[in-house]
């Protein structure tokens, strides 16, 4: 049994490891195919800006997916909320803060509404959110007259366009490193206190090394261009917060339990319906966050904003390790998933290939990633 467990753990580690490898190989190819345009300071800065919306959407759909449901509506919802955001500034004279707050509230409400239909009216999630996918896009066309709405408020557009100054970037990197290292030590202490075997020395050292190299490395590289882009930081904040929600709160635990076995969760006194509904509230709320980042970045709300966004988000969550059969996955995985999906978009537009190919390649990468997931499940069972 112990051996088997060890094997399974290795395999799980291997899966995230595989995805990082997939990204490295992909980046390598894109770099060659774009004749050296892909891995440059400028393009990497663009890439992390672009991947932010996909990551944030993916962190949202992660919760319905873990409850063994699905949310097909987030792309359209992001588009609609972006439209509302732009209109609220242009027509109703709301400021940056007011418009952001407004779309957050609306996003949460729309998500909760869909969630209620799924959890209480027991309409399958696929149907409800497919309806949302159609309807929200339609509403966007209606309110904007199918025209792009420009955004001029500079405070607002900064959300998507500004960068952290290099100095501030270094400070942030130092803080993040410190938090990671301290939490590693705290964990080690807690293990000792509970009489568990402490982590081996090399693992501690490796953890510290990674905690230093990754934040400082990323900051260094992005500082070479213009500094850490705001969308990237928002993405990291969203992922950090919702990692805590998933891993450290009773709500997050219940989400995994519901996805693992809704019957067992119900008998254990978990309000399964309510918590499933909340999973959709989260995904609606994060669609709002993503819409703000997107609208600010391209300083306008377009009728086609977020088209296929749900597909990228679901793909990113699944590549990141969330299983469509529920109960499994880690929030930070969405970053690597979004990175892969956005790299394909970004690299292929650098190559000036027809966007049709982006779809083909993305499709192949998605199916390939889930195939790895399936093999992993088979081997470990």
């Amino acid at each position: 049994m112990t051996k088997e467990k060890q094997k399974r753990r290795n395999l799980n580690q291997m899966r995230s490891f595989t995805m990082i490898l997939v990204f490295i190989v992909l980046a390598f190819f894109l770099h060659i195919l774009t004749k050296g345009l892909f891995i440059t300071e400028r393009n990497m800065s663009n890439l992390v800006r672009q991947m932010a919306t996909t990551s944030i959407l993916a962190a949202g759909v992660f919760f319905p997916i873990v409850t063994k449901n699905i949310d097909m509506s987030v792309g359209s919802m992001m588009g609609l909320l972006g439209g509302i955001c732009a209109l609220s500034q242009l027509k109703w004279g709301l400021g940056a803060a007011g418009s952001v707050l407004l779309v957050l509230v609306i996003g949460i409400l729309l998500g909760t509404f869909q969630g209620a239909l799924i959890a209480y009216a027991e309409i399958p999630a696929f149907i409800v959110t497919l309806g949302g996918y159609l309807a929200w896009r339609g509403v966007l066309y209606l309110i904007t007259g199918s025209k792009a709405v420009a955004v001029t408020n500079e405070v607002f557009t900064n959300i998507g366009r500004a960068n952290l100054t290099p100095a501030a970037g270094w400070i942030l990197a130092a803080i993040v490193s410190a938090v990671f290292i301290l939490s590693a030590f705290y964990k080690q202490k807690a293990r000792k206190r509970n009489g568990l075997k402490p982590m081996p020395q090399w693992k501690v050292i490796a953890t510290i090394a990674v905690s230093l190299v990754v934040p400082f490395g990323v900051t260094w590289y992005l500082n070479l261009y213009e500094g850490l882009p705001f969308p990237f930081l928002i993405m990291l904040a969203v992922v950090a917060i919702f990692t805590l929600v998933a891993e450290k709160t009773t709500y997050g635990r219940s989400v995994y339990a519901i996805g693992g076995s809704i019957e067992a969760a119900r008998y254990s006194g978990i309000p399964a319906r309510r918590n499933v509904m909340f999973a959709f509230s989260i995904s609606g709320g994060l669609a709002a966050v993503a819409s703000v980042v997107l609208t600010a970045r391209i300083n306008s709300a377009t009728p086609s904003a977020g088209v296929m966004g749900e597909m990228d988000a679901i793909a990113a969550a699944v590549i990141g390790g969330a299983s469509l059969s529920g109960g499994v996955g880690k929030v930070p995985g969405v970053i690597i998933g979004a990175l892969i999906m956005s790299s394909i978009d970004n690299g292929m537009s650098l190559m000036n290939v027809d966007s049709s190919w982006q779809y083909v390649i993305k499709g192949i990468v998605l199916v390939g990633a889930v195939f790895i997931d399936v093999i992993g499940n088979k081997k470990s069972s």
Binding site: K248, E263, S268, G269
Partner: protein, 523 residues
């Protein structure tokens, strides 16, 4: 018909099968004669299913060592079809019919007779009807399988096997989901097949059935072949001893405690069906359970026992009326959330589907029902670890660590994890639904000991069970349910298997199926 009854129709010689890290079977031999009912017994994990999967071609040649000889000819099966062609039909515990197709279509699935390249439906229908008549069930071959009861479906599977001219019929726990009447029909069919010289390999946990039906019994233990005996030359105790490898005096370690106040009372509980709103699944049931005692609930499958419990904890969709009183206080239970809050723990029958979350760790399963109570919003990792640790050692759950996923534990240890979950919530009432189903005999005894411990600690324990020895061995008082009502309620001293069966079947006459057993051995 010419073959001698002394000759072997099937020989499995020196079968060894290893999975990565585990030797499931080592050098196992099984010889089955023409026209005999040959029982295969062993605890869970003894290797019975592995042996059957080799015989039925699920594990193809090359994936194991050893040889298969059918009617004197050495055989190598590459797939299930090869095995069927050799005359071996296997009927698994889970029904493998296609629910939306008719009985006739199922019987001929994949083998439909052709006429001018189209299926000859008239022939299918006629032949299927004949096959059904042969096993003695009176249903129309055009009925959809979905419309049949589980028992009838199993009989259809047998009809299908016979239509395919099976010479060896393998039945894997066939009675697990059958009612007493259906068990009767099954036994009649098996006996008739025996007369026709068809051999039957009968795998069952229910030793009474083995003694009633089988000619010989082979025992496996931990993947080893222990021996084969004539059923007429062996007692039940000897058989159990072969299975567990030691004397088993402590199977039901019943302890009697001072009976306390009736802390749990149900009055006039009626549970309506969720779909057909006028139908009562449980009809006006009242009972009490006291501190210091175990209340056993017996009855046939479908008598409404599980529905009664699930109805009272608010887990069923239909309307529920009646009162629940805990420690003299009337409580309103609308959903399992309320039930958990009032201290009612429910260990469901379907351990893997509804008891534990298999993909979660032991730690996460143990704290699942107490999260809100202990942590409110944020989970404190070290507190959680220490709580889980406490119950792992208290219940002696065998797991490499509390981080192990529950799906990797044995059934008995999974059950202990589910019980641990309810201990952590400080349940006042613990309701166990078929607590020992599919659990090794050795671990069963541990579960019973835990039940005693709980009673001693002041938990009211209610146990639903279809295993009469368990009901009689562990309960202080016994309720027998029939058709949604309580047929009788009495102390254990006034009960025996015959009385329970009489009330459960509702017949004053001889019960349909009387296990030949002396209940004193379970005391």
């Amino acid at each position: 018909m010419g073959e001698s009854r002394e000759k072997n129709i099937l020989e499995m010689n020196h079968i060894t099968k290893t999975f990565p890290g585990v030797r499931a079977l080592s050098d196992v031999c099984l010889e089955v004669r023409y026209g005999e009912v040959h029982a295969v017994c062993g605890e869970n994990g003894a290797g019975k299913s592995t042996l059957i999967k080799i015989l039925s071609g699920i594990y193809p040649r090359g994936s194991f060592d050893g040889e298969l000889i059918v009617e004197g000819v050495k055989k190598q099966f590459s797939n299930v079809r090869d095995s069927e062609d050799a005359g071996i039909a296997t009927i698994y515990q889970e029904i493998e019919l296609i629910q939306e197709l008719s009985v006739a279509e199922n019987i001929f699935l994949g083998r439909q007779p052709n006429k001018y390249c189209v299926i000859d439906w008239m022939k299918v229908r006629a032949e299927a009807q004949k096959a059904l008549e042969e096993v003695g069930i009176d249903i129309d071959a055009m009925t959809k399988v979905r419309e049949l009861g589980v028992g009838q479906q199993q009989l259809v599977e047998i009809a299908k096997a016979l239509q395919q001219n099976a010479r060896v019929l393998v039945l894997d726990e066939p009675t697990a989901s059958l009612s007493e009447g259906e068990v009767d029909i099954l036994f009649r069919i098996v006996r008739r097949l025996r007369k026709r010289n068809v051999a039957c390999i009968y795998i069952s946990h229910r030793l009474d059935e083995v003694f009633e039906l089988a000619d010989r019994v082979s025992v496996l233990r931990d993947g080893q072949y222990i021996g084969t005996k004539d059923v007429s030359c062996i007692t039940k105790d000897e058989l159990i001893q072969m299975m567990v490898g030691r004397e088993l005096k402590t199977l039901f370690p019943k302890e009697v405690f001072q009976k306390g106040s009736p802390g749990f009372e149900v009055r006039h509980l009626t549970v309506y069906d969720g779909a057909d709103k006028s139908r009562k699944i449980v009809d006006d049931v009242s009972f009490q359970a006291s501190y210091g005692e175990i209340l056993g609930i017996a009855g046939l499958v479908g008598a409404g026992r599980t529905e009664m419990i699930q109805g009272l904890i608010g887990a069923l969709p239909g309307k529920v009326t009646g009162e629940v009183i805990i420690d003299g206080e009337r409580v309103k239970i609308h959903s399992p959330i309320d039930a958990v809050r009032y201290g009612i723990g429910y260990v469901p029958e379907d351990r893997k589907g509804a008891g534990a979350v298999l993909g979660m760790s032991v730690r996460e399963n143990i704290t699942l029902a107490s999260l809100k109570k202990i942590f409110r919003t944020f989970i404190n990792g070290s507190r959680e670890t220490s709580e889980a640790d406490k119950y792992v050692s208290y219940l002696q759950i065998k797991t490499p660590s509390i981080e192990q996923k529950v799906e990797n534990l044995s059934g008995g240890n999974q059950q202990k994890v589910v019980i641990g979950k309810w201990l952590l919530t400080d349940s006042r009432v613990l309701i166990l639904d078929e607590p020992s189903r599919g659990i090794d005999i050795a671990v069963k005894a541990e579960i019973y000991k835990i039940m005693n411990e709980l009673v001693k600690k002041g938990v009211i324990v209610i146990m639903i069970s279809s295993e009469l020895p368990e009901i009689l061995g562990m309960s202080d008082r016994i309720i027998v349910m029939r058709e949604g009502r309580i047929a009788v309620c009495a102390g254990r001293d006034e009960m025996n298997q015959e009385i329970i069966m009489k009330y459960a079947t509702g017949s004053a006459e001889e019960p349909a199926y009387t296990p030949q057993e002396d209940r004193s051995e379970h005391k």
